[in-house]
């Protein structure tokens, strides 16, 4: 059974959004369900700090075994940090998706977009 933490928000495309200590800044990664579906992650392509994205823009790709999948930005905003350690150890996405396998931190430009994300119960229902 995939881990769906109760304090996060989710997208239908299996990204999660997690609050950081800084107001308006959220951590983004893919869910435990998504990493399980993909299999062993071998490469993560991430944007640069300062890049700006609108909600559901493609911000990068994740490659697992031989499958490349797009990564979608859950909310609009500016990238303030990316997890550079994934370049050397992409398997962290599998072993600790909500912790050391995080992908980026984004400063939201419109926090009302949080309302469009799925809560943990809704996301659990989606992944059945």
């Amino acid at each position: 059974m995939a881990d769906v933490p109760g304090d996060l928000l989710y997208t239908e495309e299996h990204e999660y959004l997690k609050k950081t200590g800084e107001a308006g800044v959220y951590q983004v990664g893919i869910t435990d369900y998504a990493q399980g579906e993909l299999g062993d992650v071998v490469y993560v392509e991430l944007p640069s700090v300062g890049d700006k994205f609108a909600r559901m823009d493609v911000f990068g790709t994740v490659e697992a075994v031989k499958a490349v999948s797009d990564l979608y930005c859950p909310v609009s905003g500016e990238i303030v940090e990316v997890n550079a350690s994934l370049a050397d150890d992409p398997a962290r996405v599998n072993s600790d998706p909500y912790g050391t396998g995080w992908m980026l931190k984004i400063r939201m430009s419109d926090e009302s977009e949080l309302d469009a994300l799925l809560g943990p119960e809704e996301y659990r229902k989606q992944i059945g």
């Binding site: 579906e37 993909l38 299999g39 062993d40 071998v42 490469y43 392509e45 493609v58 790709t61 490659e63 697992a64 075994v65 031989k66 499958a67 490349v68 999948s69 797009d70 370049a87 050397d88 992409p90």
Partner: protein, 268 residues
């Protein structure tokens, strides 16, 4: 599942299988985009002329492969939209599938299902193929000069324990593209001849061809019929011969420019 489209070659004629690398990748991506917009799944068969080295989407190529050596050998280079590692497309048959992900259950399930359909078809053609055993997949792709056919990944199609079909996949917007190379003859070790002088040669490839198995290089037409029958049986579908629509042809023209450009091929 509903009827699938059967597309041959560049999708503009019924019997010409061959096209250049950029056009081949553009047609595959255009078929994926059609499925994303609600079109029926497609199964496509094609070959490559001239011979072409295809690189995985995220594979390092700059400073690894030598475009001068490739040009001198008459081999084109293109970067695929899918993952995985380098494949030399010469004396082989390529298949591609574009379909919605949901009926398959996810990327890995789709990968396994397509491989089962290929197996079904190869056995129909009298080829003793099987699926590679589960195991650890390879490590990070970014520094690897290893060709795709260096080693089978779990679930891939092998014969006598050696890799016969090398496949790769891309997923986006609820649809997937999976394409792969079925080796008819020749040797994938020629990939090593295209490496730059500063790149260490990978070890010997562990691939096998249909010529190795059957004693002679099989013509593509009966093989395509057998593979098609495998897909029809496994997925309970019927393959309907089809060509690209006018919209798809326009998309192909646009995408082919990108695939032919150095910005994409040498992006990493």
């Amino acid at each position: 599942m509903s009827d699938w489209r059967l597309i041959m070659g560049p999708g503009t004629t019924d019997d010409d299988l061959a096209a250049g690398g950029a056009l081949n990748m553009a047609v595959d991506e255009a078929l994926l985009r059609s499925v994303e917009r609600g079109s029926r799944p497609s199964l496509r068969f094609y070959t490559w002329s001239p011979a072409c080295l295809s690189l995985g989407r995220n594979q390092h190529a700059r400073g690894v492969y030598d475009p001068g050596r490739a040009a001198a050998a008459g081999i084109d280079i293109v970067r695929r939209p899918t993952g995985g590692l380098a494949v030399l497309h010469d004396r082989e048959l390529t298949y591609s599938v574009a379909a919605p992900l949901a009926p398959f259950g996810g990327p890995r399930a789709a990968y396994a299902a397509i491989n089962r359909a290929l197996l079904e078809g190869l056995r129909e053609a009298g080829i003793p193929a099987e699926q590679a055993a589960a195991g650890r997949s390879r490590g990070p792709v970014r520094d690897s000069a290893e060709p795709c056919f260096h080693a089978p990944a779990p679930g891939e199609v092998v014969a006598r324990g050696l890799k016969l079909v090398g496949s790769a996949q891309r997923c986006e917007h609820g649809a997937f593209l999976q394409h792969g190379s079925i080796l008819l003859a020749g040797s994938q070790s020629r990939v090593g001849e295209l490496l730059g002088t500063g790149t260490a040669q990978p070890g010997p490839t562990t691939s096998i061809t249909l010529q190795d198995l059957l004693g002679s290089e099989p013509p593509p037409a009966p093989l395509i019929r057998a593979l098609g029958a495998g897909f029809e049986r496994l997925f309970g579908t019927r393959l309907a011969p089809d060509r690209l629509t006018r919209d798809e042809s326009a998309t192909v023209q646009r995408l082919a420019l990108r695939y032919a450009g150095g910005d994409w091929t040498w992006r990493r």
